[in-house]
């Protein structure tokens, strides 16, 4: 009997943990997108004012954020400085492969940034950054719809799923 109860607690913890982890992932993604939007704004202004070269710009961008995004920008800047890859897109791929824990939507936007970085003149580059900013905003808007309900659902669904499993097994 004791073993059954221990098993039940473990199942509830696992399912509940999964739900809480999903909710935490949602919050991490949201804050990463907000940080990326701020960084893109910074890059836009910095480029417009000082025409900063890409490796320096990315190093400065790394200083404007923290966590995985900071590491990704810093790594991208290092890749550009070592001058091994023929274009910035490959540098970004290499940089992102070093940090697989970046949230998926942020990672996709970073990949898009890499594929357009250093390809155009100033106006083209600024337009691309603006486009990415808009995508960031769009993603954030979508995430903000029923945000609280969604977060609560992740957590309660996890716990409920655990409870349902226990009822089934017992």
């Amino acid at each position: 009997m004791i073993l059954k109860w221990i098993g039940a607690v473990l199942v509830i913890c696992c399912c509940g943990g999964f739900g809480f982890r999903m909710a935490a992932g949602f919050r991490i993604e949201e804050s990463a997108l907000q940080a990326l939007e701020r960084v893109l704004m910074f890059m836009h202004n910095e480029l417009q004012y000082r025409l900063t070269p890409l490796p320096v710009l990315c190093k400065m961008a790394a200083g404007q954020c923290d966590g995985a995004l900071r590491k990704a920008f810093y790594s991208f800047s290092e890749e550009l400085e070592t001058q091994i890859a023929p274009d910035a897109s490959l540098c970004m791929t290499a940089a992102l492969s070093r940090y697989p824990h970046l949230p998926p939507a942020t990672k996709e936007l970073m990949r898009q940034f890499g594929s357009t970085a250093g390809q155009f003149d100033l106006q083209g580059q600024l337009s691309e950054i603006e486009h990415l900013q808009n995508l960031c905003k769009h993603n954030l808007r979508q995430m903000s719809v029923n945000r609280d309900t969604r977060l609560r659902n992740y957590q309660t669904l996890g716990l409920c799923a655990g409870a349902a499993l226990i009822i089934l097994f017992i």
Partner: protein, 282 residues
């Protein structure tokens, strides 16, 4: 002799680096790269070809590396060249993109000419005591910029004059993140990246120089700016293209300078990098 050699090697594709480093470290003057042809090394004592052909990707790599993947920071590409870290100038040829009657970039670069920037401290020592305005005249590749660079240092050290340099192409005193690649001398201010005419005006107003130095006078507005500075009591050091004094007097663009006797001394460079000094105004 000093050269920002590592900066040059770093902009080349990896397969080429070792060969160029081994064969050209001391004597390389130019590196000519044409699509589907082997790279040609123009050395001090001859010419050598490497045994692999240049591909389009290699040219793209060099342009990306030289501009630090930032076409906006290498605005001079529209003028057919860009200056890599270390002052090495890269001339570009290929299919140009023209907007509003002006070249805005290159759709497909076909060939590159990389000129290696080398510094020879002391090469202009015999000119260190020359006073007044100096024009360095010579054909392309005769060492005008090298002489100008050292002349700036010599005059700042020997005559203790305050010298300001307009370095439009970042070739006289190339800079990188940590500072300048070559010794700049003790009394020298350097304005990089802006046009000569505009730069001369800025320096005159803000830096109160005794001497203004600039490289390659090519346009009439440069001549007007130099003349204006000369009339303000500032000595000038400049370089110009020309094989002899006669070339200088024949070219219409220099008419303004020759008619007004702006320069007191003209240093005429030869292709073998020797020179002779002509005193114009006694």
């Amino acid at each position: 002799m000093k050269c920002a050699w590592q900066q040059l090697i770093a902009i080349l594709p990896q397969w080429m680096r070792q060969d160029v480093d081994r064969q050209g470290r001391e004597t390389l003057q130019e590196l000519r790269l044409r699509r589907n042809s082997p790279p040609r090394l123009i050395l001090k004592g001859g010419v050598r070809d490497l045994n692999r052909s240049i591909l389009e990707n290699d040219i793209v790599f060099i342009l990306n590396a030289a501009s630090a993947y930032s076409p906006w920071a290498a605005a001079t590409m529209s003028q057919g060249y860009l200056t890599a870290a270390g002052g090495h100038r890269i001339g570009i040829c290929g299919t140009a993109v023209v907007k509003l009657g002006q070249i805005s970039g290159f759709q497909r670069p076909e060939s590159l000419c990389i000129r290696v920037a080398r510094d020879f401290p002391g090469v202009a020592a015999p000119l260190a005591n020359v006073t007044g305005s100096i024009l360095i005249l010579g054909p392309p590749g005769s060492g005008k910029t090298t002489i100008l660079r050292d002349l700036v240092r010599q005059i700042s050290a020997v005559q203790k004059k305050q010298i300001s340099v307009v370095d439009e192409r970042s070739e006289i005193f190339p800079s990188y993140v940590q500072g300048f690649c070559f010794d700049t001398g003790s009394n020298v201010d350097i304005l990089t990246g802006c046009g000569k005419a505009q730069g001369i005006e800025v320096l005159l107003r803000n830096m109160s120089p005794s001497v203004i130095a600039t490289d390659e006078i090519t346009a009439e507005e440069d001549c007007k700016a130099l003349l204006h500075a000369g009339w303000c009591g500032v000595d000038l050091i400049a370089t110009a293209h020309g094989g002899s004094l006669q070339d200088l007097y024949c070219r219409p663009v220099y008419k303004l300078l020759t008619e007004n006797d702006l320069f007191d001394t003209i240093v005429v460079m030869r292709s073998d990098k020797t020179w002779k000094v002509e005193r114009v105004n006694q």
